[in-house]
């Protein structure tokens, strides 16, 4: 087992390196972040070229890549323009935990991310919990009476939900629970941001209220997927011999379903959750943008609009790292709970 884990981790390292090369060139082609600067008042062409040189944009591509990895505090650039290298760089490189300085925000990317990441974690964790609770509950209920009216309604609804983009679910839920409820004089849900900007600081209630609609949008499609998955998995297990045995020896139905059947039917859920993290991340990009939720997804779209390569690089790398780690965890956990998996 330990050997298996070590080997899987070792396999992930070259993959991560390949991904980082890919991501580096991917973001590079997005364009020159200083291209729009010339229009700003008080910026001369000389300032601009100095800024570009200081940011290392005039270095050869391979050198830029090395600097991104290892930093440039050992490398002298010619900033004065006299043809002789005079100034050391200040970056430490991603290997030393330095993600660079944001071009548009003028602050270390690490600092920016530290401000945005908690909101995404909050939204993601809430959405994931909601998904698992509702997905499992609906899937179990549907599996106990397959092809009943309830099951058929759930099947139809999940097909419709699968076919709906997240932004439509978001628009629809805002339209109903925020706009229409307000019109009808019902208690309605606020939207946008994390708190009322007029009230000053965010209270727990503020955040909780504004968390509901983004969570619904993010979780709806996943709930449909999970309930289908649990239903199929439960039906598989419920038809097996050991369940028949459990019934035959007179155990209560509740006990058989909850203990014997669900335990086995829910194993694959672990892998599903881990492999679905990228789905939540790309879902967050859309949801956070619509609800002005100050998380990583919104940061990503904003940085894409303003063209802020260091943030885009950090975000894409963060996503890829999460995906690879989650795949690794899924494999290891699966090998651990299911002894039939061969360690090869």
């Amino acid at each position: 087992m330990t050997q298996y884990i070590i080997r899987r981790v070792m396999q992930a390292i070259p993959l991560l390196f390949l991904i980082s090369v890919f991501v580096f060139f991917l973001i590079r082609q997005a364009g020159d972040p200083f291209a729009g600067r010339i229009l700003e008042a008080g910026t001369s062409a000389e300032d601009l070229s100095r800024q570009r040189r200081a940011a290392g944009l005039t270095d050869p591509v391979w050198l830029q890549f090395i600097h991104w990895y290892l930093g440039d505090d050992w490398y002298q650039r010619d900033l004065s323009g006299d043809g002789e290298p005079d100034t050391f760089g200040r970056r430490q490189g991603i290997l030393r935990g330095d993600l660079g300085v944001s071009v548009q925000r003028n602050e270390p990317v690490v600092k920016t991310i530290r401000r945005f990441l908690p909101w995404t974690l909050l939204l993601g964790a809430t959405a994931l919990t909601t998904t698992i609770v509702f997905g499992v509950a609906i899937g179990m209920l549907a599996s106990l009476r397959p092809y009943s009216i309830f099951d058929n309604i759930v099947t139809t609804l999940s097909f419709v939900t699968f076919s709906t983009p997240i932004f439509l679910i978001a628009l629809l839920s805002v339209f109903i629970f925020s706009v229409k409820f307000r019109e009808w004089g019902l208690p309605y849900l606020p939207t946008g941001g994390t708190s009322d900007w007029r009230a000053g600081g965010a209270t727990f209630g503020d955040v909780a209220q504004r968390l509901i609609l983004p969570t619904v949008s993010l979780a709806a499609i996943q709930i449909a997927a999970y309930s289908r998955f649990i239903r199929a998995s439960m039906l598989d297990v419920l038809n097996s011999d050991y369940i028949r045995t459990a019934h035959a020896k007179g155990l209560k139905r509740r006990r058989v379903v909850m203990l014997h059947a669900f335990k086995n039917a829910s194993f694959p859920l672990i892998t599903l959750v881990a492999l679905d993290i990228p789905v939540f991340l790309s879902g967050a990009v859309v949801t956070e943008t619509i609800f002005s939720w100050p998380g990583m997804g919104k940061l990503f779209i904003d940085s894409l609009n303003q063209l802020d390569p260091p943030i885009l690089l950090a975000f894409t790398l963060f996503v890829a790292l999460t995906v690879v780690t989650m795949q690794l965890i899924a494999d290891i956990v699966y090998a651990w709970v299911d002894p039939r998996v061969r360690y090869t």
Partner: protein, 328 residues
């Protein structure tokens, strides 16, 4: 199937031996028995009928024309026929107008054509790429498989939407137009097709690869190789026909996914640019105004859901119909 016939009417069956059905006939019978799939087929036909018949009655330039008056007009409002309203002629905007006064009903027709065309062409690219990469990786194995699988993994590590957003950030700024099939379209249409095509081949290549890995161990492949059939011929004449079923299913479902992906990109402003309409970029006009411009998202949104739902039903039906293991 023969068993069914015998059980139900043994004497008749014994008298006249039923002609054995071909695989395709069996598949068609199974498909027609799948109620959801039949419903999906009719739904999709309805959508296609709407976007083709509609274009016989309206010209695309009518849908792309902006108006000085009658912007954001709700459904049923009278709007001018020409841009400035010089002619004095008026018509009813059946589904309202957008922020620039363009007729939403006509945009729905032509936007649908673009959305579905993007779905189909990008999936064609993805299926071609995915099939070839999967076949080659699975058949040759070794270092070829190693390299191709690493590339697949790298692409899979970044969620498709994020990859697409980064890539389209540059391309969506292009305001040029291009002549295509007698229509003037925004050049972003071509970029989006290529981008979606080149970023969605990975799941299919994995499916094909795993299928090939098990098929290539069978005797008939060994026999083909023993009598000196070339690799190229083995791959395309012996392997490919046996992995067609999952490819057809994945391609069908892929069209739905591609339509949704295009809608995401256009909704976020990184997709197809005006004046060319797609269902996604019509909805973009509703952002921030979902209550007082509801017609800008309700109608194109319903079109997207209907089309993708139909495609998903059809894909589900195909999966059941083409599965050699499902015996009825």
């Amino acid at each position: 199937m023969a068993v069914d016939t015998i059980n139900n009417a043994p004497i008749v069956a014994l008298k006249s031996e039923p002609k054995p059905r071909s695989l395709i006939q069996i598949a068609i019978r199974r498909y027609l028995r799948h109620r959801m799939a039949v419903f999906g087929t009719f739904l999709l036909l309805g959508v296609i009928l709407f976007i083709t018949l509609g274009s016989l009655f309206y010209r695309e330039s009518e849908g792309n024309m902006t108006r000085l008056r009658g912007r954001e007009a709700p459904p049923g409002t009278l709007i001018t026929v020409d841009r400035r309203g010089d002619s004095g002629e008026m018509k009813t905007a059946i589904l309202g107008t957008d922020i620039s006064g363009r007729d939403v009903f006509i945009r729905l027709i032509y936007g649908g054509q673009i959305s579905i065309a993007i779905g189909v062409t990008s999936v064609t690219i993805a299926v071609t790429l995915g099939t070839i990469i999967g076949l080659v990786a699975g058949y040759f194995g070794g270092w070829v498989d190693g390299i191709l699988s690493r590339i697949t993994e790298v692409f899979l590590a970044i969620p498709a939407l994020i990859l697409l957003l980064v890539l389209s950030a540059v391309f969506s700024k292009d305001t040029a137009t291009v002549e295509l099939f007698g229509r003037t379209l925004s050049r972003t249409v071509i970029y989006i097709v290529l981008l979606i095509g080149f970023t969605s081949w990975m799941p299919l290549s994995r499916i094909v690869r795993s299928q090939v890995l098990s098929i290539k161990e069978q005797e008939y492949i060994l026999a083909a190789r023993a009598i000196g059939v070339r690799n190229f011929a083995i791959i395309f004449r012996h392997l490919l026909p046996n992995v067609v079923a999952p490819i057809v299913v994945a391609a069908t479902l892929g069209v739905g996914t591609a339509i949704i992906t295009e809608a995401y990109l256009s909704f976020l402003g990184f997709g197809v640019q005006p004046p060319t309409a797609t269902w996604g970029n019509i909805i973009d006009g509703a952002r921030g105004h979902i209550d007082n411009r509801w017609w800008l998202w309700v109608f194109p949104g319903s079109m997207i859901v209907m089309t993708v739902l139909a495609i998903n039903f059809i894909g589900d039906g195909l999966r059941d119909a083409l599965d050699p293991r499902s015996i009825e």
